[in-house]
């Protein structure tokens, strides 16, 4: 009954008054930032990292996890009320959520979204509890060869699944790896690409990249849309009441898409965005009257909401048990963990059960908080959407600058931050996705280390990557995932 002991232990950690407070702060901040159109979960987590300086690892992780699923939760509010998704994971929410709001049923839509999210979140945390230990014990067999192959799969999956050109996504990923190679080499200590500068010897801090590439670059969005006044009327939210019939109707989609979302969340490269779209399409396909989708069908609202929240819990499986993030968002989360002094991986569960089980238990709590926050307080929270952007922009910029200054106390890093902000903006202009870059940057050091360790073990034989069966399968899947978009475009032409 070791598992039950562990879970109880986790709840003891999560229910300490301090951690309850952090869960609350995390989900609240996540909801608020996620609600603001333009600022996504990556920015939300990156902006909150400075707050976690000096915290205990378990508390820091609990806080950051709360920000993450809080942001997905909050994104749905602006999708429904304004048809302006706060995060890409809630785009599908707006398909049926916004029509409902236009019919004067915003309150009902928000309530359905909150309940579906709660369902998706809770069911998937349960799944996380079951799957994570199995995954961790499986991963203890992994050596450097398998780790390298796994990270390779993560990078190729995120590149082939990102929107637009796969080649551009791959270029982003390679540039991320290149940025990661700046600084002292981990194995030999040789300086690389430092151009004689002491400031670059330790490499570039991940917070510089996360805040620059995402938060700062996304601020430019706010600058360009600052004159657009949010139209929507918070007084007309309407009743939050859901009838028994409706509750019965959405229970099916919630159950189905919690499982689907969780599975997609576990897979590398995919996440809340892809799972919510897939769930929406799947629900429409099995529906008896698919033509009502897009016109305010409550099932079409419940499906993506359950799914995107389930996917966020799913994403914790590879992050916590393998120490390998599958998406840009979890990459930043990993960075936040490293700042707090936690190294996730198969040994985390054994070595620091408090952290591991504490976080999982805190997710149940966080989902309850989100339900409480989002049901009665919705009209109040929705006011956040009406904060003048002109004030907000300068505050976000200062937050980024201070976040970076707080770790290094060095103005050199601030110039780097500005540089990455500009790079992030230019990449958006030229339609290069930024998520592969941050994922590659975070994985870069680990990938190179395991690559070289694998080669040292095999005495320089590159075939080692296809001789290990696990690694061979992973690499084959990666290559397939890269060829898939190519095949698809060929099929379209013919």
């Amino acid at each position: 009954m070791e598992v039950i002991d562990n879970i109880l232990n986790g709840f003891a950690v999560a229910l300490s008054w301090k951690n309850v407070f952090f869960v609350f702060i995390g989900v609240l901040a996540g909801t608020v930032i996620g609600m603001l159109p333009g600022l996504g979960p990556i920015s939300a987590i990156a902006i909150m990292i400075p707050l976690s300086y000096g915290m205990e690892p378990a508390s820091a992780l609990i806080l950051m996890a709360g920000v993450y699923y809080g942001a997905i939760f909050g994104g749905s509010t602006s999708s429904i009320l304004l048809n302006a998704p706060g995060v890409s994971g809630t785009v599908a929410t707006s398909f049926d959520g916004y029509p409902l709001a236009k019919q004067g049923k915003a309150g009902k839509a928000l309530a359905i979204a909150a309940i579906s999210s709660f369902g998706g979140g809770t069911i998937s945390v349960f799944a996380l509890m079951l799957v994570a230990p199995m995954m961790a014990s499986f991963a203890t067999q992994f050596g450097p060869t398998e780790y390298f192959a796994l990270m390779f799969l993560g990078l190729s999956a995120i590149s082939s699944l990102s929107e637009g050109s796969t080649i551009k996504a791959l270029i982003s990923a390679v540039i991320g790896l290149m940025v990661a190679s700046v600084g002292r080499d981990l194995l030999t200590g040789t300086a690389r690409f430092t151009f004689g500068s002491v400031n670059l010897l330790d490499g570039i801090d991940f917070l510089v990249i996360a805040l620059g590439l995402f938060a700062l670059a996304e601020v430019t969005n706010l600058v360009l849309t600052r004159n657009k006044v949010n139209t929507g009327n918070e007084s007309e939210v309407g009743s939050l009441r859901i009838t028994k019939q409706e509750a019965k109707e959405i229970s099916g989609p919630i159950a189905r898409h919690s499982v689907l979302g969780f599975i997609i969340g576990v897979l590398p490269g995919a996440g809340a965005t892809i799972s919510s779209f897939l769930s929406y399409i799947a629900e429409k396909r099995i529906s008896k009257n698919p033509e009502s989708f897009g016109k305010g069908n409550i099932k079409g609202l419940a499906a993506p909401e359950a799914s995107n929240n389930a996917a966020t819990s799913g994403a914790f499986v590879p992050l916590l048990t393998l120490g390998i993030p599958g998406s840009g968002t979890t990459a930043v989360l990993l960075g936040a963990l490293l700042v707090a002094g936690v190294t996730p991986g198969p040994l985390l569960m054994q070595d620091e059960p408090n952290v591991f089980w504490g976080v999982i238990a805190s997710m149940y709590l966080g989902n309850i908080f989100l339900l409480i926050l989002n049901l009665p307080l919705i009209p109040l929270i929705a006011k956040i959407l009406y904060i003048p952007k002109r004030l907000l922009i300068s505050l976000v910029i200062v937050f980024c600058l201070i976040g970076v200054y707080g770790i290094s106390f060095n103005t050199f890093d601030l110039y780097l931050l500005l540089g990455f902000g500009i790079l992030g903006y230019v990449m958006r202009l030229l339609s290069f996705p930024a998520a592969p870059l941050i994922l590659a940057f975070i994985l870069g050091g680990m990938m190179e280390t395991s690559f070289r360790q694998a080669l040292i073990i095999s005495k320089g034989d590159y075939l080692t990557f296809i001789q290990s069966p696990i690694s061979a399968v992973l690499i084959a899947v990666s290559v397939l995932s890269l060829l898939l978009p190519l095949l698809k475009s060929k099929m379209k032409k013919s």
């Binding site: 270029i171 390679v174 690409f193 200054y405 030229l430 339609s431």
Partner: protein, 152 residues
């Protein structure tokens, strides 16, 4: 031949890759390592060259949506550049004049150029924000932000 944007971009990426490769060949060899520090960078450099060539060959037309993203008025570009200048000013002055004054100045200047006009509201929000950040960093997190010319 260079008429499309993606082709121009691919040339820039090709140049970045070459530069990166050039510096990869400057990495000092280590006597002890079997697989040395330059293996991965060299591989990445060549990989990026291949990708830039692929981008050049692919030569995809931009979609309308992608074009719309790039259409900025001169005014907007000017505004973004002005904000970048403000940020540079902030960084330059942060350690000289100190966090509190520079932050309040930066916040006010940025919001003004963005067209926010309510002075009273602005000052209340900004002064509170700055002081809360300053004291919570100093007292709660134990990280002291530069006090500059102010005595505290």
């Amino acid at each position: 031949m260079l008429n499309s944007l993606n082709r121009k971009v691919s040339i820039v990426i090709f140049l970045i890759a070459t530069l990166y490769l050039f510096y990869s060949y400057q990495i000092e060899p280590s006597r002890f390592a079997k697989i040395d520090a330059d293996v991965m960078p060299k591989g990445l450099g060549f990989l990026l060259i291949v990708l830039s060539v692929l981008l050049f060959i692919e030569n995809k037309e931009e979609t309308e949506q992608e074009k719309a993203k790039r259409s900025l008025t001169k005014e907007e570009v000017g505004l973004l550049l002005l904000i970048v200048l403000f940020v540079i000013g902030y960084i330059l002055l942060l350690e000289i004049i100190g966090f509190i004054i520079v932050t309040i100045l930066f916040l006010t200047a940025t919001s003004r150029v963005l067209g926010y006009t309510n002075w009273i509201k602005m000052l209340i929000v900004f002064v509170t924000f700055t002081l809360v950040i300053y004291f919570s960093f100093n007292e709660l997190l134990g990280l002291s932000l530069p006090s500059g010319i102010l005595p505290f």
